[in-house]
Subunit: 204 residues, 2 copies
Amino acid sequence: MRKGERTKEQIIRQAAVLFNRKGYAGAAISDVMAATGLEKGGIYRHFDSKDQLALAAFEHALELVNGRYLAAIRSSRHAVDRLTSIVEAFSQLQREVPIPGGCPIMNTAIDSDDGHPRLRARAQQALADWHRMLTNVVQRGLARGEIRPGVEPATVATRMIAQMEGGLMMDRLLAGAGHLERTTQGLRRWIEEMAADRKSPAEA
Amino acid sequence: MRKGERTKEQIIRQAAVLFNRKGYAGAAISDVMAATGLEKGGIYRHFDSKDQLALAAFEHALELVNGRYLAAIRSSRHAVDRLTSIVEAFSQLQREVPIPGGCPIMNTAIDSDDGHPRLRARAQQALADWHRMLTNVVQRGLARGEIRPGVEPATVATRMIAQMEGGLMMDRLLAGAGHLERTTQGLRRWIEEMAADRKSPAEA
């Protein structure tokens, strides 16, 4: 990799952390300068605008989290295990913090209402993609007889994302109150109960 | 009410909308000037700083939403009906929009990580209060035999808030996708199933 490309990637990595923590409006180019040790000109050599840098930073953050979810899906074959693995991956992401400051999609949803329409459009697509990924896992599980008939794929996807994101939001405001852990445990039980081909926890 | 007090209240009402929609970092005093038609001096006659105005605006937004939740609790006596009424009130708040831009607590949670520690502390207290309010409804329901033994009050409160806030976040990013409606329906069924003294939906 050429030095210019390395510098560009380093700016994106640092900016991804800053934008995720401070939001699009809250993060200034001076923050990126401080984090990278570069002058303003050194940053704008690689990006036309703060908008363009924010988009690249969001894309980077998204790749990191999506990589985890894809790995979670591939780690097992049964739909119920796949859904459980995604819940675990989400929870794990908050502990390991490759991108500190919570979920990039949620942060961008809250933060970019007005400021940056292209960033908002990208976050909308990312949420729709995530929802579709979970919906597909449930649909396949139904087709394979792994998930009980009558389970609504899109509803499962919505309720999973809502509980993960909602629990994370609560944990971020009240650290140590164990909210994400509670929603994660509740989701694990709820997902197990969808299995068509296993004993339900009540029967086990 | 004296004219000065009326002006102050008008600034707070307009600022509550602006801060809720744009966030603490995103909303500028120039936005408050544009919304109220006042000069900067006319605003700072009533508030020492943007920080103080933001706190007053959050307090106002919180009173509006908390008023709805208290009314929801008082509207019925049975714990299960009370919990259902709170879910309805949350959902209704997003349609009527007395404070456009979503839930003030969630917005402040995401937005005020770094910028305004006192505002963040106030939002933490508001979330803890809301969680306690829901926990108390479940505890009373258990004591009165309205809710099945074994139900965990704090877990119910966490999962309710997480699903309402998470569904709202998804709806705000993807308007019209029906995410909040899905989490609201799921919550309604889940709450009904907690009832100790009614037929479960499966038996009904």
